[in-house]
């Protein structure tokens, strides 16, 4: 796969979700992404139509790891195109099984990693960075912009890097992709990110709360800590934030009725 093909596949992979549907999820988007590659590999119209049919069925993968799956499909489709007619059926069946298994397994790791942990981790990092920058230099509103920019880059950069390089890696690894991915300790990475993100969020709470952690401010900081604990416990019981917000509104209303506000 040359660089031009990799770039074309990468740019088209952004549109994987553009025609997302409940029926086939990203299936049509995958066919759209692969179309130029398949056109090149199958000059015969009938074979091209068959190849497109193989890929516009059900497909769903996390955006960050979609590159690896696309790369593997490209490698296997290339082999199918070069195979003898009697070998094709078996190769096609193996490719479809691998595509299905790979997209499911990689997404099962990438969804909790990127959406479940990376996003909150980057947020905790961005909040701490913005807070520290604002303490060190008088940035004014620049601190918020810095935090927002940091958050965006910290998440998008590794995700895009993985998506772009995944295409080449997937293409090079082909059927050996499972063997090549085995050494990665995804769960360990998730655990470490969670732990450091949790520490950062506690640190951010301490930054915010430090000025109020004195006996003089106990009347304000005490209830705030109690609300924090109550919200955390409610989340442990899977109560949605919208419901907790509603609960806080009712609490405010009751306090107002009792003349405490």
């Amino acid at each position: 796969m040359n660089q031009a093909a990799q770039w074309e596949m990468f740019s088209r992979s952004f549109f994987l979700g553009s025609i997302w549907s409940f029926e086939r999820m990203q299936g049509l988007g995958l066919a759209f992404t692969l179309a130029p590659w398949l056109r090149e590999k199958y000059p015969d119209r009938g074979e091209l139509i068959e190849a497109l049919e193989r890929h516009q069925g059900f497909f769903n993968a996390n955006q960050a790891v979609s590159g690896v799956v696309i790369g593997v499909i490209c490698a296997l489709e290339e082999k199918i195109a070069q195979a003898l007619p009697e070998e094709r059926a078996e190769k096609i069946s193996r490719m479809l099984s691998l595509k299905d298994a790979l997209s499911r397994t990689l997404s099962a790791v990438a969804d909790p990693l990127f959406l479940g942990v990376m996003r909150p981790f980057c947020m905790a990092l961005a909040l701490c960075a913005g807070f520290l920058a604002a303490m060190a230099v008088d940035l004014g509103s620049g601190a918020m912009l810095l935090s927002a920019g940091f958050y965006m880059v910290a998440y998008a950069a590794p995700s895009l890097w993985l998506r772009f390089n995944g295409i080449r890696r997937g293409y090079e690894w082909g059927e050996n992709v499972v063997e090549r991915l085995k050494p990665f300790s995804w769960q360990k990475l998730i655990r470490r990110l969670r732990l450091s993100g949790f520490a950062l969020s506690v640190l951010f709470c301490l930054f915010l709360g430090a000025p109020f952690m004195t006996p003089d401010h106990w009347r304000e900081s005490g209830p705030a800590l109690a609300i924090l604990a109550a919200c955390f416990i409610a989340r442990l019981f899977s109560v949605s934030t919208a419901r907790i917000y509603g609960g806080l509104t009712v609490l405010g209303l009751l306090l107002a009725v009792g003349g405490r506000l």
Binding site: I19, A31, A148, A156, A224, C231, Y245
Partner: protein
């Protein structure tokens, strides 16, 4: 009003990032900060953006399980709270209304996700006839529909919801106003608890 319409156009375009590009420019924290700066009220923009962003960590959208649209939530809250002082909705009211808007738009997205299956059937028919489906056209149509849906939703927020809730706020019982103000004051605590919960060290 012109600036609100322009903001709605920009927000509708940025909303596409959720579906296609995925480089975080549609995240509440980013649009909140940028729009707040553009309207000369970065504090309100940042509060809306950061709070909705943190609250969005409560759930990981997986496969067909769509989460509430937090870009629409933040965009709606921003369009309600920012802009000309006359007609603006107080932040304590705009934030819960924005969260509700994000949930309401999820219903629209569910319908659109079902309707987009027609492209797949059209592509199947093309293949049956021996023609290559016009994927580019499907992509264009899919994105245009998404753009129109979010632009229509934001227009509703500007021209119907904003004047209605701005007017309605004055008639809202004082106690409810106090309750909403208290909820806004404590929203940052809820948001931090959601962040800590999302990152809590898991068992095993």
């Amino acid at each position: 009003m012109i600036e609100l319409v322009l903001a709605a156009v920009v927000l509708s375009l940025l909303e596409l990032d959720r579906r296609v590009v995925g480089i975080m420019i549609s995240r509440p924290m980013v649009i909140g900060t940028v729009l707040g700066l553009a309207f000369g009220n970065i504090e309100v923009g940042a509060v809306i953006g950061v709070l909705i962003e943190l609250m969005s960590f409560e759930r990981v959208p997986l496969g067909a399980d769509l989460a509430s649209n937090d870009t629409i939530a933040a965009g709606s809250a921003l369009l309600l709270a920012l802009g000309p002082k006359t007609g603006a909705v107080p932040l304590s009211f705009a934030l819960p209304l924005g969260i509700f808007a994000g949930w309401a738009f999820k219903r629209v997205e569910i319908r659109m996700g079902t309707a987009r299956a027609s492209y797949a059937r059209e592509a199947d028919r093309s293949l049956e006839r021996g023609n290559e489906p016009s994927y580019d056209e499907y992509v264009r149509a899919g994105l245009t529909a998404q753009l129109i849906a979010s632009a229509a939703f934001f227009s509703f927020i500007i021209f119907v919801a904003r004047p209605f809730f701005s007017w309605g706020w004055h008639f809202t019982p004082h106690l409810i106003q106090k309750g909403l103000t208290f909820a806004l004051a404590t929203a940052s605590i809820l948001a931090l608890a959601t962040l800590m919960h999302a990152l809590r060290p898991a068992k095993g």
